[in-house]
Amino acid sequence: MQGLIDRITSLPEWYFELGRIDVTFAILMLAGVIATIMSWKGRPGMLVGAAYVVVAVVLAYFMSFQAAVGLGMIASIAALLVPNIHPEHGTISWFNDPRARGLIAQIILFLLVTFGIYAMVTNTIVNLERQNIASGFGFLNQTAGFGINQTLIPYTEESTYGQTFIVGLLNTILVAIVGIFLATILGFIVGVARLSKNWVINKIAYWYIEVMRNVPLLLHIFVWYFAVLRAVPDKRDKWSLFDTFHLNIYGIWAPEPLPGPMFWMTVVAFLAAIVIAFILAKLAKARQMRTGETFPSFWVGLAIIIILPLAAFFATGSPLDFEHPKFVAEGPIFKRGFEFQSGLQVIPEFIALLLALSIYTAAYIAEIVRAGILAVSHGQTEAANALGLRSGPTLRLVVIPQALRVIIPPLTNQYLNLTKNSSLAVAIAYPDLVAVFAGTTLNQTGQAVEIIVITMLVYLGLSLVTSAIMNWYNSRIALVER
């Protein structure tokens, strides 16, 4: 990470030398031209042209930007004019070749886009400089100086803005992942309940969906936050469950697990158990394909996943301690209540945001699940029954796989929405990326352009990762066409 920050920090001077930007542009252009050309197979003339372009730009590197563009252009056109041999039609002139014309259009478009980006970047830099606004990424190494009330990595006021970024990012990811998990479970339950023949269950699900998705999310967040705050005991009091889990206005307090030095064995055993269960399932399936004999691979796998880590855990002497939150009942008024940094504190801002996000998103997921199940025609069930499948396997092997195909794409959408909606956190002081980085850090440093760009890239990245995972899953369960 440090290396990355260093590298980013060294950008400003690099950028302020406008000459270097020109070179950057030229190289970008070159890369584009070459990429376009390379993607076009079977045209020897174009390879010659590409060579021209390379030579032109390498020459231009030692001259000026204008020369680079000029030579690059001439080289591209010259490349096109080189008589070329079409695999089927022999020699044809380039302007009668639709592929050549398409290529020219692409090159022109690429040049325009590159120039647009180039103009914006330089213009921004020049404007910031003219307005005397600090720029660059050096601020990432400066001391932040403010406190944050939920940090998944060690963080103090002496940490840097780079670290506030990580703190915010992890907080966003945390609420998004747990939120997606809860919303999916709740959404599936409500979606199935919505199809129930039981009138009461059906109507409850119906009203849940109608009410939840018609109330704006921000209102959900406020209602949960202030409802939670008003309902629970104050700081110097608590509700306890088994004297282990506690709740008050400062959140949920629970024992914090402190893994001992040998705890990694348990983790390894757990991972190994998953792999074993997976292989077992594969083998069992192959055997079933071959011989028709079934094997309860799910239950056996589950047993392995539970028993193996437990065995490792006890064999290494139970290397896990718990630190209980310390509750102070006497003494100075502000020291009473749970002591900060003792045990595990789940702040009420997180709880409220999580509840609001999952309950709201679950309403949409429920509709998606309902649509998915309804999309599988009843004939499929009848056909499965006719083949002698019982209702369990019918559901598991026939209905659900087909329903999932309809459910996954819109479900991905909801996951993306939930992640992006988590940025409403700032309204109730949950320290997510937008609150601590695009909020506090932006304001304290004043470097809006850099910070907004970074923040947008992060959300883009999170969305792309989510989509990639879901698309992978989707293609795995997709209908295999033969």
């Binding site: 921004t124 005397n132 606004i133 403010f146 406190g147 400062y250 502000f334 004043g446 969305s463």
Partner: protein, 338 residues
Amino acid sequence: MKVLSRVALGALVAAGFATSASAATLDDIKKKGHVQCGVSQGLPGFSNTDDSGKWTGIDVDLCRAVAAAVFGDATKVKFTPLSAKERFTALQSGEVDILSRNTTWTMGRDTALGLNFAGVNYYDGQGFMVPKKLNVKSALELGGASVCTNTGTTTELNVADYFRSNNMKYEVVAFEKADEVVAAYDAGRCDVYTTDRSGLAAQRLKLSKADDHVVLPEIISKEPLGPVVRQGDDQWFNIVKWTHFAMVNAEEMGVSKANHAEMMKSANPGIKRLLGTEGDFGSKLGLGNDWASSVISQVGNYGEVYEANVGPNTPLKLARGSNALWTKGGLQYAPPVR
């Protein structure tokens, strides 16, 4: 995804092309016919809308005074409510011409943001408010407290410094909007509410039982609050700076909204220069010679504005203290009109 990338592009375009920090803010303002003034989202006494939706407060009056100086008409001003977080970006991007929003003058803001502070219209310091029932006498007893405050403020940094240097544990809960800070403090999420002491006096009025809360005696920071403009336009900077000075000078010379008509006939050379019956100081600002005269006849002098908005007879009940004139032992001091 497509939408996201489009938004990204839009932001870049905005950053790249939409810099309206042209040198001649005054010309632009004259062309559009009003001053665009950035204020808070509602801080009684400083910038707040009354029941009829009219903006009132000491920060608001400063903007009115600038409009009076420019147009001879204090009503030619429009207000943009801004959160602490948004304010500097709004000024930098040209969304507002002047930021008058209880904003602390700090070195960082003055030098790194491309902005200039044009004066101090309220000398303040940061304080703490706690529920009376906790029976706390000093801020040094606050170890272990959780503290509610606004994001994007000097407050957030001062409180960290204070607790750290006094070796006290704390938890900070930082909201974007002041109303949510009030609501969370009121609900008991925090033991302590911290911000500028003037802000505490104002926000206290929004609590369900204002009298159940006290402001502790400690002042943990210097918070000189004042109007801000963009760097690079000295004329506009001068206009805002001297509008404030004119109001302070007027108080010092005893010129007020009430006696303005009489004072126009005054033989005192200092008053004559201020009100423009002698000399041509207005033209050096690019304004009419009656610029300060309009400010005082339409808005009033500094003391009048103070008393009407935050003084002892208002709900905020703030004594003049550091904001008294230098002749009365305070810090308000203006260079002479000469």
